[in-house]
Structures are given as C-alpha cells and as structure tokens.
Symmetry: C2
Subunit: 120 residues, 2 copies
DNA sequence: CAGTTAATTAACTATACGGTTAAATATAAA
DNA sequence: TTTATATTTAACCGTATAGTTAATTAACTG
C-alpha cells in the first residue's frame, strides 16, 4: 500500500468520487442516495467500489443503521493534501504576476492585486 | 483522456512525482539532475515517464538547450486543485472544532484558535 | 569521424483500476 | 417464513500504470 498523501490524491483523481464528496459536503447520505445521479452511467457495485476507495483514503466514514449505510465526509486528509499544496502557492501567484506584467505591456494598465514589482 | 482536475490529482498521487516537483520548487533542473536521487530505486526511463505525466498534466514544462532538457515547475494546475479543495476547508476546520470541544470536556480548558461556539 | 553524454522510444511485463453481471448477505416487512 | 430492500462480494474483462532492458536519437567533444 502507499503513503497517505498518495492515497488521498489518488482518491481525488476520479470525477465520480469528487462528485460523491461534493454531494456529501451538503450532508450525510446513504449509498443509494449517493449512487442515484450515476445510475444512468454505471452500476451500483461500481459506486460501492468508489466508496471503498474513499473510505480507505479516510475521506469518508460509513455507519450502518438497519440495512442502510450512511456516509459522512471526513476533511482530515484534505487538510493534509491542501497543506502540501500550500508550499507551491508562490508558483501560481508568481504566474499571476507574470500575467500581470504581460497585461501591463499590452494595455498599459495594471490589474488589481499584488504587484511585487519585478522591474525590467 | 480525462478532465484537468483528474489529471492533476492523478499526477500528484505518486511520491516520486511529488519529490520531483519539490526539487523543481528550488529551481529549474534538467532530467539527469532530477533523476539522480532516484537512480538507486529506478531506471532513467522510469523518470522520463514520470516527467511525461507531469508535463501532460501541465505541472512542468521542458525547454531544450543542446542535449539537456531543462524542466520548470508550473503552478497553474496546483492553483485549480487547491481552489477545489478550498470548498472543503470547513470540513477540516469543523473537525478541529470537534477536537476543541473534546479537549474542553477533558481538560476544562479551551485551545487557542477559532471557536465559533457550537453550544451544547 | 569516432566516442561520449543526455534523454527518449520501443517492446515487454506485472499489477492496479474501473467497470461489468450474477450471486450473496443482512435487515425489515408482510 | 417468504419477500422486498439495501448493499456488498465474487469473478471476470479491458485498459492504464509503473516499472524493466535494449535500442535509438541528438548534440557535443576529441
């Protein structure tokens, strides 16, 4: 098996799973509720598998009540993944600055936002 | 092929690739420089493949000068991935609050940080 | 030109992944 | 006890992924 961060990013690398998380962000839901929007595209066992991936990554937890499994979003792994990305923030803000420089040369104007003056 | 976000998360789901990005965050580097720390564990073609994955995900760009390919980190896809995660921030801060509540019951004290009073 | 260095491509292999259908499990309801 | 509902498991399939070794491309160097 792999490290936590790899497992998290891997779990997030599928649009169905991200959609499931999006739905869970609106509140707990059981498997059939979660599956419903996807049943035109895939079978229920496919959803079960996706939920297993999310569960192993720690992104959701399931609790059983009678024959229903209620799923709940767990943010902790996202916190770690987000923290990892923060180290790179400077790289996308830098590219914003380059865009800013570019716009200045094109329009003679300067966009709003940071502008930590790269002279020349 | 898949959507951008899936491609980004997928590219990030490998520790070798994340290590490559970490090294590139310290400055541009060519392929052999990037490969060097990994050559005990894997071959050069393996690195070439990892770089291709990163390149297709838009996380790096390669420029050639003579027989060297210089690689440079590109933050834009990380910005998008990070923005996606931001929607879930409340879920990891919420769990912090629950920890906070728990600590309060155990120690009678309250930790520093936000405390948007969930009474009862 | 011959040789060296940097990196990629080709061909192959093993395993993981995302899906399927059919069968099994578990609880509730009649 | 049968039937219905919710969900999972098993077995399978095709494709993608991560690695290998060997061969190839491309540019520089003596």
């Amino acid at each position: 098996m792999q490290d936590h961060l790899s497992q998290t990013f891997s779990a997030l690398s599928d649009p169905t799973r991200r959609a499931i998380l999006a739905k869970l962000s609106k509140g707990e839901a059981n498997v059939s509720d979660l599956a419903e929007p996807f049943l035109k595209d895939m079978s229920l066992p496919a959803i079960t598998k996706h939920l297993k991936v999310l569960e192993k990554a720690g992104l959701i937890t399931k609790t059983r009540e009678a024959q229903w499994r209620s799923c709940k979003l767990n943010g902790a792994p996202l916190r770690d993944a987000s923290a990892w990305m923060e180290h790179y923030r400077v790289f996308w803000e830098e590219s914003f600055n380059r865009l800013d420089e570019y716009l200045k040369t094109v329009t003679g104007k300067v966009s709003k936002g940071k502008r930590n003056g790269r002279k020349k």
